[in-house]
Amino acid sequence: MNDVELKGLLEAMLLLSHKPLTIDNIIKIIDKDKATVKEAINELIVAYSDDERGFYIEEVAGGYQFRTRERYSFWLKKFEGLRPPRLSRAALETLAIIAYKQPVIRAEIEDVRGVDAGGVLRHLTGKKLIKVLGRKDVPGRPLVYGTTKEFLELFNLKDISSLPTLRDSVDEPEMGQ
């Protein structure tokens, strides 16, 4: 493998790697010494350093990684928001309950779904789709949940009142999925 090929391979590896790519990762796969690899990476870093490129190579956490340029972040944030949310059925159902019944406590959610909601609530809080609004003034002072701005953004809602009215329909066929 010549130097040009080495650089091509490194580019490909950077593209595929979801974690920072370390020199050790690389030399496990190709039979080159560290210095050669390091040099090739440095050349690549220069090649990608053009400020107008969409991404560059960042040296991070002991490795290397493609990162998008700051100057595009305004648009890229919108783009990230467009990514279809990967929410489980349980998460979607819980979100719906919270959206319509908020402010709502965990016990009420569990009453509707009939299953423990702890895991889903943590998950949704982690995704910033719901947040704790405070505590309810009843024995045990349970946490009260509500939806967030991010929730509205994700589902493309102007405000919480733009949620459609729930019908009590039962005639829709269950999709096999």
Partner: protein, 247 residues
Amino acid sequence: MSYKVKLDIFHGPLDLLLHLISKNEIDIYDIPVSIITEQYLEYLELMRSLNLDIAGEFLVMASTLMYIKSKMLLPPSEEADEEEEDPRADLVERLLEYKKFKEGAVWLNGQDILGQNTFARSALILDLEAKADERDKEETLSLENISVIELFEAFRTVFSKASQHKSMEISFSKLSVAERIQEVLEILKEKNNVEFDDFFIKPYDRSFVIITFVALLELIRLSMIKVYQSMPFGKILIMLRDVETEQ
């Protein structure tokens, strides 16, 4: 006999028929039904002797074939107009239809499949792999380069050559399938490639041949071995899955 192999690796009766047609170099529009039926039944018999689960579809096809055969033996009725339909017509149509989609599958397989030689940053490939659960293992078999039918064909040859002085009564007492699986694995660990026929040397009696073949089928089902064939009806090579060396 307790050892029962579930042959879900089969592609079905239509696949078998296409194979027989191709092997005999028969014109699909003019299938000699009696020859094909005979071979088809032989095949089922072979599967039975191996104690394989035979799917219902195979039996349905057997009766269809026998029905067509009987229809063809009847002298053409005098009253009926000349354009009396060929009793084979429906079957031929089904075979052609299936063959068409088989070719579609071959085309798909020849595509530059993402994850084979080109990769994307997408989570697609990783997702595919992550979902490789138990059922997946059952369905995704290692028959990349060969169809099970051809393996059976090879087995038939070996089996017919095996000494027949022993009665067809098969005694599994001398050597169990489990033991033979171990032996096969040992052999494959030692050598990289082993030709199919080489597993059937030495004692060469029918029970040994059957046990060996069932052992190989089981290893295929468990995705532990790969079966290769360089060309249609060519030599069959067997190798371990793990020690596969690239290029």
